[in-house]
Every structure is written in C-alpha cells, then in structure tokens.
C-alpha cells in the first residue's frame, strides 16, 4: 500500500460516521443508480390528498381532496375573501394559471409564492401573462436544483397546473419533485392516483366541453376519495375558462358554498342522514 492510499484509509476510518451521515443527507446516487431522497419525496406525495385535472376544449377543471378537516377546525375565514378555496390545495398563481398541490403543504406554499413571483417577473419584463409551460419550467428548474445541491432536501410536492395562453390555448401540466414536467389531457396526483387515472382513461373523451369535464372530475373524485360522501369540507374545486366578453382567461376557485351547490347540481351531494332515516 502506498503512502496516499494508506493515508486515505486512515482518513476513512477516522471519519466513517461523519461520511455516512453526510451521505444520507444529500441527494446522491445509490450504488443501483437511484436517488432515494427523490423517491421518498414522491412516496410522501402518494399519501397526500388526491388532486385531479381534466382538460376540455373550452376550459380546464381541477379538483382536490382536503385532508386537514374536522369539526373543530376553524373554517370561518374560508367562506369569504381571498380567491376562494380554503387555501390548502388549490391556488391562483397568475390570472391565467390555477394550481392544485399534493404533498407537504408547507413546501407547497413556498413553491406557490415562488411561482407567483416568477409570473409577476415575466409580466414586468414582457408585459404579458406568463405562458403556462414557461411557469411550469420555472418551478421545475427550482425543484431540479434540490436533486443536485448537497445538504438540502427536495420539495415534497407535485403540482397540477391548469392554464391558458395564446400559444397552446388551454393546458394541463404535471410536475414532480425531481423537476420533471409533462402535459396531460387528464391526470391525477396524490393518494389513489392509479385508480383515478385508470378511471379517467376509460371515461375521457377528446371533444369534451368544460361542463362535461366538471361532471367527469366529480364522478372520478367521488369514486377515489376515502370518504363515501362528497362535501365542501373535503373538496376544493376550480375551473379555468375564457370570459365570453373579454376573451381573457378567467379562473374560478369555488367557495365552500359554491362547491356544495355544484355537488347538489351534479347529484353527488352529501345525503342528509336524518331525512333518509325518516324515509325508511
């Protein structure tokens, strides 16, 4: 053994524990060529509330399952104000993009903030709404960074982006913690996303209008969610369409009362147990 390797062996022996600790903290390849931190992040997402997106010819529809619920949760701030929704799963990123997030909510909030800033920077420089794919790219560049730079954990978030721009009209994108993104006609992330996607594959039609897409999204959502009944305390819902007069994209994130009204309209509303009992 020569001097150099001998010294290296001694170094390794002295620093073994330190080195191992460092390995587990950074995103490095495993001997099989995998990035475990990324896979763990994706695993975290597959336990999160489901998010569904469907692209129609005249709009995009998003729905999300809320996990943080309960009788004691104070939702009084949710009913009024803001853009709608409960601020847990669905967010307005720009006037032409709505996003649904699945994963660690704290990480998602940080990404939403980043996306809103990226969109405003684009508006500042180019005086136009950011093209949807470009916004997805901006976020993915950030997410990819955390698969490479040492000592930091990747974002445990997948997003669905529902957007509109003049280049490709209505669009639906998905991005994951590795920084990959792809465009979809209909897709799903979070818990039970496999079931949701196979249902979507069966029922999706290419010439669907937004009304039809709303029906499809709610139907699939009701089948994949753990709870038997749908209601605004478990569901967030949003659409992106074109305003008929201005021809500008119009995002609508439903308020809880509007979600319940929609479910009644679609015949998927929560059944009132008392009246059912009385009927029997």
């Amino acid at each position: 053994m020569n001097m150099v390797t001998e010294r290296y062996a001694r170094y390794l022996a002295e620093h073994y524990n330190e080195a191992r600790r460092y390995d587990s903290r950074t995103t490095i390849f495993s001997p099989e060529g995998r990035l475990y931190q990324i896979e763990y992040a994706m695993e975290a997402i597959s336990h999160a509330g489901t998010v569904l997106g469907v692209l129609a010819k005249d709009g995009v529809v998003l729905a999300a399952e809320k996990k943080v619920t309960g009788k004691l949760l104070d939702l009084s701030g949710v009913k009024e104000g803001g853009y709608g929704g409960s601020g847990e799963k669905i967010f307005l990123l720009n006037s032409n993009v709505v996003t649904g997030v699945a994963g660690i909510t704290a990480d998602a909030n940080s990404l939403v903030n980043y996306a809103r800033q990226a969109a405003q920077k684009h508006l500042f420089a180019y005086n136009e709404d950011i093209p949807v794919e470009l916004l997805a790219q901006r976020l993915c560049d950030l997410k990819q960074g955390y698969t490479q730079y040492g000592g930091l954990r990747p974002f445990g978030v997948s997003l669905l982006y529902a957007g509109y721009d003049v280049h490709y009209d209505f669009q639906l994108y998905h991005s994951d913690p590795s920084g990959n993104y792809s465009g979809w006609k209909a897709t799903s992330i979070g818990a039970n996303n496999g079931t949701a996607q196979s249902l979507l594959k069966q029922e999706y039609k290419d010439d669907m209008g937004v009304e039809e897409a709303i029906g499809l999204v709610l139907r699939v959502m009701s089948k994949t969610m753990d709870s038997t009944t749908l209601g605004s305390e478990k569901l967030e819902f949003a659409t992106l369409t074109l305003d008929p007069t201005t021809k500008q994209p119009k995002a609508r994130i439903y308020k809880p009362a509007e979600v319940d009204a929609l479910l009644v309209e679609q015949g998927l509303a929560k059944k009132d147990e008392d009246s059912e009992m009385r009927a029997v």
């Binding site: 180019y126 470009l134 790219q137 003049v166």
Partner: protein
C-alpha cells in the same frame, strides 16, 4: 440624420430606413442596413447615436434569439417590444445610456395580427398604425395621417411609403438617396426593392 418609416396594412407591416452612414458632413457609406431581423416574424429599424445603434441592436437581436432557443416559442411582437422598451428604460437610468430610437414591426403568429411599436431612447413605447423617426418624421407623419389605411393592400401600403420618401427627397436639404424596405407578414420577413 437617420430616417426611418413604418406602417401597417392588412396583415403586414412595412419598415423602411435610409442606408446612409454619415459622419459630420461626409457620407461614409451608402448601403448600410439599419433594419434588424430579430426573429422570423419581427423587424426592428434603429437610428440614433452611431455606435450605440449597432451595439444595442445586436444586444436585442441576441437576447430575442436566446429566448427563442430557451423557450421553444419566439416572443410575440408585443412582448418583444415591451422587453426592448424595458431595456432602454433601464439603460437611460444607468451611467452610460444608449441613445437609440426604434420602430419594431412584427406579425403575431398566435393571434394573426400585424403590429407596430414606436420606441424612443427615453423608453417611451407606443403601439401605432404608422410611425417615423428622424428628420423624415416632420414631413411624413402628416402624409401618413392623410393616406394611411389599416386595411390597405401591400401595393397600396408601398404607394403610401413612396409618397413619404418622395416628399422627403423634395423638401429636406440632407435627404438620403436610398432606402432599404423590409416587410413582415404571415409568411415571415422579406426585403423588397421600391
């Protein structure tokens, strides 16, 4: 001393600029191209401080090209003009500002509309049906007011341009002898002889 004109018509924009490069009272060159092709559907006529003009035009050209390579689609004319305006607005607030005036003409392939922007060295931008920079503007703008028609065919548009050039030749002491004329429409950019 540079003179540039531009006007829109039905589905096209015509951009014209003189081809004289002068220093003091001397004509140094008679075939200078003062209209940059920024992208397949975007033209920019530039005039102003010699040196600044070419430097700035090349800077814009390369940044627009970079955007196109990075983002798969080209900037639309309105976005490109906004970015150029922003660059000039930042420039005039710097230690060494560019003294460059521009006419940015383009055809938006996503909305199928021609558009023209008048931009000056102060960072002013206006979307206009026709525009001019330099001494030529004193003669041409009134003519364009009278004869410009946004629904004109290309031949009618070129006739209006000829009127402007002829008037400048007739009345301006230091009228340039030659102009370069470029057109942008749905098929892209091309140069024509008047």
């Amino acid at each position: 001393m540079d003179i540039s004109f531009a006007l829109t018509g039905k589905g096209f924009v015509i951009v014209a600029a003189d081809t004289t490069a002068a220093r003091s009272i001397v004509k140094m060159k008679l075939d200078e191209d003062k209209i940059k092709v920024l992208s397949p559907h975007l033209l920019m006529a530039f005039s102003g401080e010699p040196g600044d003009t070419v430097q700035f035009a090349e800077y814009v050209e390369r940044n627009i090209r970079l955007y196109q390579i990075r983002n798969t689609y080209a900037l639309r004319p309105s976005s490109a003009a906004s970015w150029i305006r922003r660059t000039l607005a930042d420039s005039i607030r710097s230690r060494k500002p560019y003294a460059v005036n521009l006419l940015v003409g383009g055809y938006d392939t996503s909305t199928h509309t021609p558009s023209l922007y008048w931009v000056d060295y102060l960072g002013t931008q206006a979307s206009v049906p026709f525009g001019a920079h330099g001494y030529g503007s004193y003669f041409a703008l009134s003519l364009l007011d009278r004869y410009h028609n946004p629904e004109a065919t290309l031949e009618e548009g070129l006739d209006t341009l000829r009127r402007c050039i002829d008037e400048v030749s007739k009345r301006l002491i230091v009228a340039p002898g030659k102009y370069k004329v470029k057109i942008v429409d749905k098929d892209g950019v091309r140069e024509i002889e008047l």
